[in-house]
């Protein structure tokens, strides 16, 4: 299948359908007799709920039911699952706040659900929601990460002292303390990593349908992990999973935000159970800003120790992580799963990280593209640049002398990661050549003549992908020799359908037009954890590969039986034998396989296979971003002028989709570094960035051409040799852009620019530097 083979830039099979409006998102779906839900949310970041009066709302036109937390409790449903497993500093278990679908006693963030109105139309539900009278007693609120743990800060939960939810540590504390105490030089810096929202194109939504006759619930929803979603939701509803079906449509982006069960999923199911009708809820954009889970948001202090030659001898990092108002399984993982990223591509022998998770009156948190990776990569890659500046060494050189050489692989870092392979210096050299690093000073001088301050910045980041786990896939041939392919992972726009069909076409010689792809329906998918953490090519791809291998094994036996030979060769979808000039295509074998005459006696008829692939070893994509910026000295306006990436994401399955992932990731990274930020008013606790009029998203026009080159070092940790690629762009972009911005201003005495580096912030650091006060 030459043009569809693995490695070909096949354009996405899903695009014609999606671009022409043929997508099926939650809001595109309608069920017979469907009703509509509207969530009444707390307007206060923190308030006692004294009374909820639903009488007027219940009498409003079209209203079928008005539900509150009391109704949820009497229905027999339970709370949503919460994060567990971590500890506090004294070793006691982490604080586990209850996570109710609708809160009864207290509201803990602006947007906390307190009631749910179900009506015949969405408009009637919205009208009636305005009639729900909630008597609040507002309480002082804390939204700020840096101060949440301080004595006297408002308490989000009365029984959680200093709002400390958990403490997470990694690395060798004693060894690191010694290394830092003994170092020739220690660089110290504090970073504030801002809170952002995923702003997915498709907002969250769900349709709940309780079939009373069958006593079974169906939920059409936005998600990342269908079977895990079913497990968590079944736990919440206190029913066996067999009584629950989850169906994902096309999903318009998630980036981690939709990876957990959310309150409203429970609300539509309760609504359906109470009213006997399917109930739909879809978030408006404004509602998304106040009710979606957010990402990032930490305050970090880092110390990097160097010897007199510039070799890193130790790294100590302390972080305050904003854990939001409620926790969920995985919502705390941004504080722990990827702190290993801090070790970077460097030999640093002693590293220690200490993270304190603090509860605040802010939206719950979810992983957001990178889930701790970009935050950690930002810290280490900024620290390297700061160190280079302080010791007067070129930042590329400082990286080079500290890099782990291929000869040291496999390499156990000072933190949890154990790298299997990687050729960092080679990738770095290629990147330096690509951007003409040596010629930069001439470009800087030329820009100066135009009144612009030009800067160059790089990052060399590495992250964990495809954490230990499993994925399922199924290949079912039908009697005409076409295929139904079922995957356990679920796309949110990445293009699973394309890549999985490529693998099947490549391995089985069946044209992609004859492959029907299915995903995201728990009644169809037998196994799979879903998509997240840059895992799908490695795990899902391996599962699909493994299923095709099983098919080939069986088909080979059938082909031998049919050709009456004992040694059969298989290549490019065709079985041949040196003993006969007969040949059989995979399709012919598949068509014949339901006829018992064609099948050896010891085999079952039919040609289909399920595969469950699991791994205990993650892989480590890595790469170098180099970016050049120009700053208007008078206004602080920064523009990206040149952007190159050289990455090693292992074997490239489809270069077109890979570039899409890298470019999209870079856009999100640039957004975080230069403009995006969820802000709360420190006094009132109200969200200040509740719409796109205030929350700045990066637009295509601000990006230069992004030049991407792959230098694959295949990994042996999965069947395809691939490494993750979904998060890499975002991870590399944030520090590279930050380093470039600072580089443009270093000669003025500027040493840092806070995130997001808006024009005013840049202007202010320039002005401060000119007045002799360094930021």
């Amino acid at each position: 299948m030459g043009e569809f083979a693995i490695g070909q830039p096949v354009s996405r099979f899903e695009d014609p359908r999606l671009l022409r409006g043929g997508g099926r998102y939650v809001d595109d779906m309608s069920l017979p007799h469907m009703a509509f839900g509207h969530v009444v949310r707390s307007p206060h970041p923190h308030a006692r709920i004294l009374k909820i009066d639903t009488r007027r709302a219940r009498q409003a036109p079209g209203v079928i039911a008005v539900l509150t937390g009391e109704d949820w409790l009497t229905s027999g449903f339970g709370d949503l699952p919460t994060a567990t497993g971590k500890k506090k500093r004294d070793g006691s278990p982490m604080y586990r706040p209850k996570f109710p679908a609708m809160t009864v006693d207290k509201a803990r963030y602006v947007g906390d659900p307190v009631a749910f109105v179900v009506a015949n139309t969405a408009l009637e539900a919205q009208d009636a929601a305005e009639l729900v009278e909630v008597d609040y007693d507002p309480l002082p609120a804390i939204t700020d990460t840096a101060h949440a743990h301080e004595d006297g800060a408002p308490q989000v939960y009365d029984d959680c002292a200093n709002n400390i939810c958990f403490v997470y540590q990694e690395g060798d504390k004693d060894k690191t303390d010694v290394a830092i105490a003994a170092a020739d030089r220690v660089i110290k810096r504090r970073f504030v990593i801002s809170r952002v929202t995923a702003a997915t194109m498709e907002t969250r939504g769900s349709i709940g349908h309780y079939d009373k006759a069958a006593d079974r619930y169906t939920c059409y929803t936005t998600l990342q992990r269908a079977l895990n979603f079913r497990e968590e939701l079944a736990e919440t509803l206190r029913i066996p999973e067999s009584k629950l079906r989850i169906v994902a449509g096309d999903i318009g982006g998630s980036f981690g935000m939709k990876s957990g069960v959310f309150n409203e999923v429970g609300l539509v199911l309760l609504g359906s159970k109470v009213t006997g009708r399917p109930v739909k809820w879809v978030a408006t954009r404004s509602e998304s800003f106040i009710a979606d889970a957010h990402g990032r948001d930490n305050v970090t202090e880092a110390e990097l120790a160097l010897d007199k030659n510039g070799k890193f001898t130790g790294l100590r990092v302390r972080t305050l992580y904003n854990a939001g108002s409620y926790t969920q399984p995985g919502s705390d993982s941004g504080a722990s799963s990827n702190v290993g990223t801090l070790a970077g591509v460097y030999m640093t022998p002693a590293v220690h990280v200490d993270v304190t998770g603090v509860l605040t009156n802010t939206n719950p948190m979810r992983p957001f593209r990178g889930n701790g990776r970009p935050e950690a990569a930002f810290v280490i890659e900024r620290m390297v640049d700061i160190a280079a500046d302080e010791i007067g060494m070129d930042p590329a050189e400082l990286r080079r002398i500290n890099m782990i050489p291929p000869s040291a692989m496999p390499f156990q870092t000072g933190l949890s990661f154990n790298y299997d392979c990687g050729e960092f210096e080679k990738v770095l050299d290629e990147a330096l050549a690509m951007i003409d690093y040596k010629g930069f000073e001439a470009r800087r001088a030329e820009a100066r003549k135009r009144g612009k301050l030009r800067g160059i910045g790089m990052s060399y980041t590495i992250e964990k992908a495809a954490a230990p786990g499993y994925e399922g896939a199924e290949v079912r041939f039908d009697r005409t020799g076409s295929i139904t392919l079922i995957a356990g992972s679920v796309t949110q726009g990445q293009g699973h359908e394309t890549v999985f069909k490529q693998i099947v076409a490549d391995r089985l010689g069946i044209h992609p037009d004859e492959i029907h792809y299915l995903q995201g329906d728990t009644d169809q998918v037998f196994l799979g954890e879903g998509t997240g953490g840059s895992r799908t090519s490695a795990l899902g791809g391996s599962a699909v590969t493994s299923a095709t291998e099983k098919v080939v094994d069986k088909a080979r036996k059938i082909a031998a039986h049919m050709m009456q030979v004992d040694d059969v060769e298989y290549a490019d979808g065709v079985f041949t034998s040196r003993k006969t000039n007969r040949s059989l295509s995979m399709k012919e074998v598949a068509k014949s396989a339901t006829n018992p005459r064609n099948v050896p006696k010891d085999l079952e008829i039919g040609l289909n296979a399920t595969a469950a692939y699991h791994t205990t070893r993650q892989n480590f994509p890595n790469g170098c971003h180099i970016v050049e910026v120009e700053i208007d000295e008078e206004t602080g306006v920064a523009t990206l002028d040149k952007y190159i990436v050289v990455d090693d994401v292992g074997v490239v399955l489809n270069p077109l989709l890979l570039k899409g992932q890298i470019v999209g990731g870079i856009a999100q990274g640039v957004g975080q570094m230069m403009m995006e930020e969820i802000r709360f008013d420190p006094d009132s606790g109200q969200i200040l960035t509740g719409s796109f009029m205030d929350y700045a998203m990066p637009h295509a026009e601000i990006f230069p051409h992004i030049d991407i080159k792959s230098m694959p070092v295949p990994t042996k940790t999965n069947l395809l040799g691939v490494k993750g690629a979904g998060e890499a762009g975002c991870v590399g972009a944030i520090p590279a852009v930050a380093n470039a911005l600072v580089d443009a201003l270093t000669h003025l005495g500027v040493r840092d620019v806070a995130m997001p580096a808006t024009p005013e912030r840049i202007w202010r650091v320039i002005e401060d530097a000119k007045r002799g006060q360094t930021a």
Binding site: L123, D127, E130, S286, E634, T635, M675, R679, L688, T689, F692, M693, D694, Y695, A696, M697, T758, P759, E760, W763, R764
Partner: protein
């Protein structure tokens, strides 16, 4: 959005009559501001009177030394107009820099001017290019039209029919786009007339304003240098999380000088 009655007017008089008759009527032009306001339930008019079918309100013409743009002309049409580009290129450029393509194809000059958003671009053109706002009742001089934050001289029931811009000998518009909304953080129109220079600033304050110190300096000597040190006070300006009042004041100073540079280069 609350329910409302929808009317489609066929002429200005009909629209005015409807407006008088109904309980709490609102004119609908491009809907780019009004519809989001309704969707967010910040307004609940009983009736919407759509001006889209009023052919008298569409089009651009040159009348003597004036460029006349009728109220329902979308920004994209102004931006692409050969007449406007020839007569007042700065006006075409201003229209072409509003929002995004979808907004430019729906949003109209009448709606923008009536709405008087402090961050809208057109107010800088109205005041800077000494325009006259023509309604179904009277003509209003630019300097008398904008009264404050979202506040104009329009009386209840008054309908803007056109805006008449006076051709300057030269003019330039510079805009500092808001990083989130794309509206003007600062939009500055510098226009030179035989009668004197006009410098109008939108975005920075609660309403468009003229900078008389800059106008006087440019009257004396139309050079970047003559205004390079003239600052506006941040006290009367607005601030938000992206751009403080102090920063806006700074940008006014820099952009005014750059606009003159562009005109004298």
């Amino acid at each position: 959005m609350h329910n409302f009655n929808y009317h489609r007017a066929s002429d200005v008089a009909g629209a005015a009559a409807l407006l008088k008759d109904v309980d709490d009527g609102k004119l609908l032009a491009g809907g780019m501001t009004l519809l989001p306001t309704l969707k967010n339930r910040l307004a609940a008019p009983s009736d919407l009177i759509d001006l889209a079918g009023v052919s008298d309100l569409k089009g651009i013409s040159i009348e003597g030394d004036e460029v006349v743009i009728r109220a329902m002309t979308p920004h994209a049409v102004v931006a692409a107009s050969h007449e406007v580009a020839t007569a007042i290129p700065a006006l075409a450029a201003l229209a072409g820099g509003i929002g995004d393509p979808a907004v430019r194809h729906r949003g109209t000059i009448g709606g923008s001017v009536a709405n008087a958003d402090p961050a809208a671009d057109y107010p800088a053109a109205i005041v800077g290019l000494n325009a006259t706002v023509v309604t179904n009742q009277r003509s209003i001089a630019a300097d008398d039209f904008f009264l404050g934050l979202f506040e104009t001289a329009l009386r209840p029931g008054e309908i803007i029919t056109s805006v008449r811009f006076k051709n300057p000998s030269r003019a330039h518009y510079l805009k500092f786009r808001h990083p989130a909304s794309g509206y003007a953080v600062v939009g500055i129109m510098v226009a030179q007339y035989a009668s004197g220079v006009r410098v109008a600033v939108t975005g920075a304050g609660p309403s468009v304003f003229r900078v008389s110190a800059m106008e006087a300096a440019l009257d004396k000597s139309f050079t970047p240098k003559s205004i390079a040190d003239i600052a506006v006070s941040a006290d009367q300006l607005m601030g938000d999380i992206h751009c403080s009042a102090e920063y806006r004041a700074h940008i006014v100073k820099v952009y005014a000088r750059r606009a003159v540079e562009a005109l004298t280069a």
